[in-house]
């Protein structure tokens, strides 16, 4: 926990478009819409924002927090303290206020009881939600939803969010249900008008409209991943529900009807099948991939554990398959609703015997879309399981992200041979390296050529698929698979660099959803004279660009959300000649990384190095 006494709001006067606001409610109380309206309005006002849902593994009745970070400077990673608290839950009320530094703001439903001696350094705005709601006629079952809309009005007014922007968002949100939009807006207006007449503002946080963020959209990584798969031509997805991967498949289910009608027959071109467990989910996806469909599944760490044997089979029998791992906190059942980067080593080494896997690591929601379609191309091109490693923060939280870009190349079905192709092939075997690059040609069921069939097996096989125990053959087949995987590396998503504003001797390396926090940390370090270049790894095994980055810095800090520094370990193995240049900084508690933590950890180590600080 951060030392709040060190947080001071500089200067005087309004603090514009820079705040972290936590809405503290009880889960199942219908606050999601209210949270969303507030958040989406800020986005509409052109203010970079993020919305993170810190929720329990529970359906109703436990505390839950929705954290909005608005930042004109574009820092939307998690902040380890709040500037504004909207308290609606008595159980957590006192604790929620302990995350506020002096000058922090508390909006609280006046049905909540303040502590006997409230912190005098905070600014309090009681919200008479219960008495306001009595003034209007609301159906009983909608009361808690409507109460939430009242706080949107009050908080919005005090933050100087224009009423017309709130209205715009509400009517956009309920665009297909104008009556519901009316009633929601009337509640927001009720709160807004109350605040206008009764609340005297004495805190410093305000919003101001900025130019619209026209190149951006607001969504979550699982929606993006599901859409990416649909635009990637996924034809089959078998799955088993698991938090936090479920909404990726549900996003596909919701959008198949609109997106995946065959232009020729009008029928659907994608099958989603929920099965009995993760073994079946991956097994069925394997069957479909083997049969020549663009096939995928989505799960989280515990699901990967169950899928492991099948994935090893896919690797060795060379079957295309995409597997999304939306990470949560492990080991074991762990923290199902919290985020982590703890599955990297598992995926990298997954399976018994000699295996190696391609892992794509999106760091933004837009990349979830992009890797969603690309992964299917890679799977079919290289005839192997492709992992897409996301996490709960990226997958389930709301992000302002670059608009999705239409795929810039046609779908790649890889080297599938049909009847005509076989006529032209004098010699052919399913596992024969005809093209010399380690990637064999592949026939699939339904091919009517008498030469098409082969016997797929996870046991030792020769180039024709026949059972074989010969040591030389085994080593050749496995060697070729290794060669095939290595041939993919130059085509995988390259790392993204963010150079320091001046020459830097220090590197920072990260992956995935920590991007926002690390960029903020990079800037904060620069402010105190520690200049560092930042590289975000987007795929493994790593390519030469990663090696060059590490080689060209005297030391690189590898920041990640797990206990043992898995990315650092893997890079140390892959680039062993520079492993002493890599310094691991890792921690795991289930919440997204903060820039403050990254800064502190790097400063600590820089001091030891001799406080070069450049």
């Amino acid at each position: 926990m951060i030392d709040l006494s060190k947080i001071t709001y500089e200067g005087e006067g309004p603090i514009v478009n820079e705040f972290c606001l936590s809405i503290c409610t009880v889960n199942g109380s219908g606050s999601a819409t209210a949270n969303h309206i507030l958040y989406r309005t800020l986005f509409h006002m052109g203010i970079p924002t993020s919305g993170k849902n810190i929720f329990p593994s529970n359906i109703k009745g436990l505390p839950t927090w929705f954290v909005i970070r608005a930042s004109q400077k574009g820092y939307t990673g998690r902040q380890p303290y709040d500037d504004i608290v909207v308290a609606m839950n008595q159980v957590t009320f006192e604790k929620d206020m302990t995350y506020l530094p002096a000058g922090g703001v508390v909006f609280y439903g006046d049905h909540l009881t303040l502590p006997e001696t409230p912190n005098p350094d905070l600014i309090y705005y009681p919200m008479p939600i219960k008495s306001l709601i009595k003034q209007v006629d609301v159906p009983r079952k909608l009361v808690s939803f409507m109460e939430n809309m009242i706080f949107v009005g009050i908080v919005g007014q005090v933050l100087r969010i224009p009423l017309e922007d709130l209205k715009f968002t509400i009517y956009e949100h309920f665009s297909s249900k104008p009556k519901i939009a009316d009633s929601n807006f009337s509640m927001v207006k009720l709160g807004y008008d109350y605040a206008t007449e009764n609340i005297e503002k004495h805190d410093r946080f305000v919003t101001e409209k900025l130019p619209p963020m026209e190149d951006y959209i607001l969504t979550d990584g699982n929606n993006a991943g599901g859409l990416g798969a649909l635009f990637g031509g996924a034809q089959y997805c078998s799955w088993y529900p698991i938090t936090p991967a479920t909404s990726l498949v549900e996003s596909m289910i919701d959008q198949i009807d609109q997106l995946r009608h065959d232009p020729v027959t009008g029928k659907k071109t994608c099958v989603i099948l929920q099965v009995e467990d993760e073994l079946a989910a991956v097994g069925a996806a394997l069957g479909a991939g083997w049969g020549g469909l663009r096939s995928m599944t989505a799960t989280s760490g515990p699901g990967i554990s169950l899928m492991t044997e099948n994935i090893g089979l896919a690797y060795f029998a060379e079957i295309p398959l995409v597997i999304w791992d939306v990470q949560r906190v492990g080991p074991s059942t762990g923290l199902p609703t919290r985020t982590a980067q703890g599955d990297l080593s598992m995926l990298y080494f997954l399976g018994h015997g000699d295996t190696s896997h391609i892992i794509l690591i999106p760091g933004t929601v837009t990349e979830c879309f992009e890797f969603g379609w690309k992964s299917l191309d890679f799977a079919e091109r290289y005839q192997t399981p492709i992992f897409v490693l996301s996490d709960l923060d990226l997958g389930m939280n709301q992000w302002v992200t670059k608009k999705f870009e239409y795929p810039n190349k046609p779908i790649d079905r890889g080297r599938v041979v049909w009847e005509k192709d076989l006529e032209e092939l004098e010699v052919w075997g399913r596992y024969m390296d005809i093209d010399g690059d380690g990637i064999p040609r592949r026939s699939v069921m339904g091919n009517q050529s008498p030469r098409a069939a082969y016997f797929t097996r996870g046991t030792g096989h020769d180039v024709y698929g026949n059972y074989n125990e010969d040591p030389k053959n085994w080593s050749e087949i496995l060697g070729r698979i290794g060669k095939k995987l290595r041939s993919a590396i130059p085509y995988l998503p390259a790392p993204v660099f963010r150079k320091a504003k001046q020459d830097a001797d220090i590197g920072i390396i990260g992956m995935g959803s920590t991007d926002d926090a690390i960029r903020e940390a990079q800037d904060k370090l620069a402010e105190i004279g520690i200049h560092a270049d930042y590289m975000r790894v987007r795929s493994l095994p790593s390519d030469t660009a990663v090696r060059e980055f590490i080689a060209s810095h005297s030391r690189s800090y590898v920041l990640e959300l797990n206990r043992d520094g898995q990315l650092c370990d893997i890079l140390s193995l892959e680039i062993s000649e520079y492993s002493e240049k890599l310094i691991s900084i890792s921690d795991i508690g289930g919440l997204p990384m903060t820039a403050a933590w990254a800064v502190e950890e790097i400063i600590k180590r820089e001091r030891k190095v001799g406080g070069s600080g450049n």
Binding site: Y236, V264, K267, A284, G291, L313, P410, M445, G446
Partner: protein, 344 residues
Amino acid sequence: METKAVELNLCGLALSDYKGKPSTLCPGCGHNTISAQVQNAVWELGLPPERYVKLSGIGCSSKGPNYFLNRSFGFNGLHGRMPTLASGACFADASIHILGFSGDGDTASIGMGHFKHVIRRNVPMTYIIENNGCYGLTKGQFSATSDQGLVLKHQGVNMLPPLDMCMEALISGATFVARAYAGDTKQLKELIKAAISQRGIAVIDVISPCVTFNNQDDALQSYTWGRENEAPLHDLKHFINHEDLENEGFKPGTYRELKLDDGTYIVMRKLDKDYDPTDRNAALDLLTESYKNKYYATGLIYISEAQDTIQDLYDLPDEPMNRIGADRLRPTKAMLDEINRSLY
């Protein structure tokens, strides 16, 4: 020298066109008989081997598909997981018939969940359990279908009661349930033909003796026991054309005829009792009674009206999904523009 003309089937292929690799199973293994009868049945049905795929799990049974239908795609997958492969592969090309091969270890133990669920989903396939009441490939352990009280070397006495796989199939909702005995090759072949001809999942539990580990005279799955305790429900014959059936000259009232989903026929000639395989309760009674008295009622135990298969539940194009051109799989740019607009 006189050369005998090679007999050809409806699509002009010889039985040898349906052969597989030489078997590496033990001589006398019941599974070899099953392999031979699959080859015969598929040849007699008259479709090319390319119209079939063979899926299997792990174990002696699952090595089987290597020994017939070389020209059919095969997939020898993981222990107990064959039904999951079928649940995906069936969408790749719905015109291809799936033949699934499994054993009692593969289906009744490690794969029981998948077995139940593949039936529940009604994945269109023929599911053959080569049931020898023991683990062969790991050299003679008890399986979930081993008889209670069975004694095996190294294992001692089997303390647990066996599962009846026909009962498991029936109560899971299978639309075709049969039991056969590998020693009764004619009946086995006719049942395989009928199973392939019916839409939806068809389960055949074949009692298939393991000559190496479980063929003692008193073992439930031995040749001796099978010979002495097999009780055929009827005399079965499959016909492709009704004309052939008429020419057979069955006496009226002595047989029951059922039209199968592909338009072919299965004829069941009555033996000592009149058994109605379309009566689910009769099937349950029969299985309960035969389990209790340790005999094998063989033949077509249950057949129902065709139910929707898993493929019927999706609104898919008629052509094979794995041949649909890539240009038909990607939504348009206008669709993505609309999504971007709606998320702004």
